[in-house]
Symmetry: C2
Subunit: 552 residues, 2 copies
């Protein structure tokens, strides 16, 4: 029965070996693995080269679309991966990589990940996951309790109930948000009379049945870009994502939210969800959740909170009040791979009501039979890995007070950095940290002086030059490889909504020290000097402005 | 700046240690990890207990929704995980676990997974993934070439092009199928005149603009349950998923497909996609892809192939013709975590045209800027792990001919098993294997004799009893823990479409021997004896039928 065929150097017997027998103790792969086990950060420091290789150069190593006809030895290929891939990957766990929401990971997650991957469970159904199913339901219960704080009887009644679900584990915040809006849409357009519900008859018939001219989701103008994708996928259209005005702290204006509701209803457009953001991606601000919840209640509208990043703050007794009102939300997105320090691929959405997800329930003959506790009947995804195990382990090993320390230090470090920036006469803090995210830019002292008295046109000219300078500094700093901050474009009220390019910093990594922060500013200051043309032009413009004043 | 606060036993200093210093060489976790490294299958055999513990018992270990207030030692918690989770997880890599599409994994993927997780790249953008981005593009290129076989210049032109994408890497087949249908829907309802396209204006306005009364996706009645989810999410509604009749081999009837097209158009319903299945989940059959492609071309309709499971067959020069016509599809789904032997979470969708995904392109200020090569502008998901690395490594280490051997042996093993079943006088093969999946059931010899002459009513009675028996055997076998086959319900033509419960077997695991297959049948035969009531009833009914005949 076993094929006798031999192709090149491959035989079925040698192939079987790769499924059973590992490499010897001296093999490259074994050594690499040991290095990783011994000291993860040291290993990464040694192997990820700091110097930037241009992308088009890297692409040359990844240019063939042909699947190799010759097998490679495991050790040889591992060396190849080290040289071409690992050495040119991004050192996301470095203490000076403070540009995005990635951080160093607790080392114990590495070996545990190996167990997770070796077990290769499929969480779509109990038959391929067994104990992982109750474990994932418990993790969802823990996050539900963290948000909603229901009583013990609530969880013993619903957490493991076959026909209920406290939420869904998924690959990330985008799928979590789509799931929440999917549930909200289906509940808003549910079966009624002869109409069988949007899930059966589709959006067009639903709109005709309900007599709506359109659907809308209301969200702060600072909402995550992925919500546009969600609106597109769900058939609402990006225009259905209505932007609500924000105040000087990038938070939704409740008055504008109310006005938008009135306006939409006048146009027969049904607003079926409001999204409050708990930690905007660009500025880290939190919408006034309690006020939004009250408006949603009046309007009988689903209230979703996108706390993909900020949700971890609930672990902190000291700072959880920053998310006051989150417990009034109908659904909440949290990414464990952000500030819960879990590897990439651990998103969750939690629903206040255990029966909220009924509107998206799916069954099938060979799996997900009705009445089964299979998780797949309430998830957008099908096959899924046992990632929940890592969240479970981290919750136990770090524990709630441990997470509190991590959250507190990140917020307090951001405040420290904000103070540090304010103390400099050549840096400008653009947005204050509310959680552990802030934005700023480099503005030479003489430019700051000039801006105080500049005319509108002069201000615009300086702004354009500063935008260029920020871009140059950010790019050069990234390429130099010692540290990394990201950049984005804001429209701050203090700069009369001008397009303003800023550095963006997220201080989630517990290994980031105050020294690192000082060095980042120092480096940026130094890089600015390496852009003589821009600096000369800024100096000239500022000089002219200041001279005119002196002459007056 | 660092918080001075101490809660219970947690200090910030001790917390920092878990980010930097691993456990000692004698710790439980280190030992477990070594066990896994030395012999994965041995480790799993030793730790996954064969005996079934009822789910409600397991749930007791996962019943608290409270996040612990006390940190656990890593080693203690690891032992806890071994006892409560690992020991009650499913041995998906066991040679006798032949009920689902999971299999043993090549051992070299374990250490490589650890590298992947330690690097913690985020593939949404280059800034957090660097070399992983060209690597993922190359993997997509490889799969594209495997399907479409375009020339070298095609790949050097498009594979790394910023504004193009040969496909999307995602967490699994469901997201891959949704992505394909999303693209197809948006292309069918694209901008025209004043209409800005469904992605902007939503489905309701799109339908009014185009004057359609509904949308439809045509798919075999054997299509995967997840397509219902896709139709629901995308706003088409499950009724929009039109089932096309299948023949005695569970393959779409092209005539019925044509008839369905005509019927839909008469009702002003727009069929915007046809899905051909290459490896149905329940019976493993492949639709006549070439014929479907021709019909789609005539109808100017998007042709998607769901080859989530069967796509790996393209690796086999010997058997790739089973998927003849797949190269005519506009898009194809393949799951690398099925028969490409990659851990859970590696789905892909490939598009024939490099600009097909334009209709779902998304950009944002702080990432995915226009003109960047960020992968996130063409994926439904946002943050994603570097899973593509494992596909890349397996392609190189196993190589195309190695995969061919794996595929060939799985198909040939299924044929062997089918023959074996046919040789038994008390087993009935219900569906022949086309790839490596087959279904069958246990039918005692006297029952088979009786069925030959039974009346319609008698046949129905026997069928109902056999259905019960199949359920009992499958459940008992799973609980006993020596081997696992799954079960599903079919409506085979040879049994005049009666609901027929069958055992379902997928022979993907290269470690499954012919001895294992013989044992599975032997065990099922033995278990049947432990259901005396059912067996007695079957015997009685059969006896009566056979006696009546003898009397005639």
């Amino acid at each position: 029965m076993v094929s006798e065929q031999k192709i090149a150097d491959v035989s079925f017997e040698s192939l079987l070996r790769i499924f059973t027998i590992p490499e010897g103790p001296d093999s490259t792969l074994t050594q690499i693995e040991e290095g990783l086990s011994k000291n993860l950060n040291q290993f990464l420091r040694e192997h990820i080269v700091a110097e930037e290789k241009p992308l088009h150069e890297i692409e040359k190593d990844f240019s063939s679309a042909v699947i190799p006809e010759q097998p490679a030895f495991v050790s040889d290929h591992t060396e190849h991966l080290l040289d071409t891939l690992v050495s040119h990957s991004v050192h996301t766990s470095s203490p000076s990589f403070i540009g995005h929401m990635t951080s160093a990971l607790p080392y114990f997650l590495m070996p545990l990940s190996k167990i997770m991957i070796a077990l290769n469970q499929n969480l779509v159904k109990i038959e391929t996951s067994k104990a992982f199913t109750p474990l994932e339901r418990q993790v969802l219960g823990m996050l539900h309790k963290l948000i909603y704080g229901e009583s013990e009887p609530f969880y013993s009644r619903w957490m493991h109930s076959a026909n209920h679900s406290l939420g869904a584990f998924c690959s990330g915040g985008t799928i979590a948000n789509i799931t929440a809006l999917w549930v909200a849409r289906n509940n808003a357009l549910k079966a009624q009379g002869d109409f069988l519900g949007v899930e059966k008859e589709g959006l067009f018939k639903a709109m005709k049945h309900y007599g709506y001219e359109g659907l809308a989701v209301l969200v702060s103008e600072r909402g995550h870009y992925s919500l546009k994708k969600a609106a597109d996928v769900l058939g609402i259209g990006q225009q259905g994502l209505v932007a609500v005005k924000t105040d000087s702290h990038n938070r939704i204006c409740p008055e504008d939210l109310k006005a938008k509701f009135a306006q939409l209803k006048e146009n027969k457009i049904k607003p079926f969800a409001v999204i409050g953001v708990a930690g905007t991606t660009e500025t880290g601000n939190v919408d006034p959740l309690r006020e939004i919840a009250q408006i949603c209640q009046q309007e009988s509208c689903h209230f979703h909170v996108d706390a993909a990043w900020g949700g971890a703050t609930l672990m902190s007794a000291k700072y959880r009040s920053l998310l006051d009102g989150v417990e009034l939300a109908d659904s909440v997105t949290i990414d464990a791979h952000k500030q819960l320090y879990i590897p990439m691929g651990a998103g969750m959405v939690l629903f206040k009501q255990p029966d909220a997800m009924k509107s998206i329930e799916h069954h099938a003959q060979y799996i997900l039979r009705k009445g089964s506790k299979d998780l797949g009947s309430h998830t957008l995804e099908g096959s899924r890995s046992g990632m929940a195990m890592l969240v479970y382990a981290a919750m136990h090993i770090i524990s709630r007070p441990g997470y509190e320390l991590l959250i507190n230090q990140s917020i307090e470090k951001a405040r420290y950095f904000a103070d540090l920036i304010k103390q400099q006469d050549d840096f400008e803090l653009v947005s204050e940290p509310e959680l552990c995210l802030l934005t700023y830019r480099y503005v030479p002292k003489y430019v700051r002086n000039a801006l105080v008295i500049a005319s509108t046109e002069q201000t615009t000219e300086i702004h354009n030059l500063l935008n260029e300078l920020t871009k140059v500094i950010q790019k050069k700093q990234r390429e130099t490889g010692l540290s990394f901050v990201s950049r984005t474009q804001l429209n701050p009220i203090q700069w009369t909504l001008r397009d303003t390019i800023v550095f963006r910093v997220v201080l989630a990594n517990p290994l980031t020290t105050t020294d690192v922060l000082s060095s980042v500013l120092e480096e940026q200051r130094d890089i600015a000097k390496t852009a003589p043309n821009l600096m000369a032009r800024l100096e000239q413009v500022s000089h002219e402005i200041l001279q005119t004043k002196d002459q007056k």
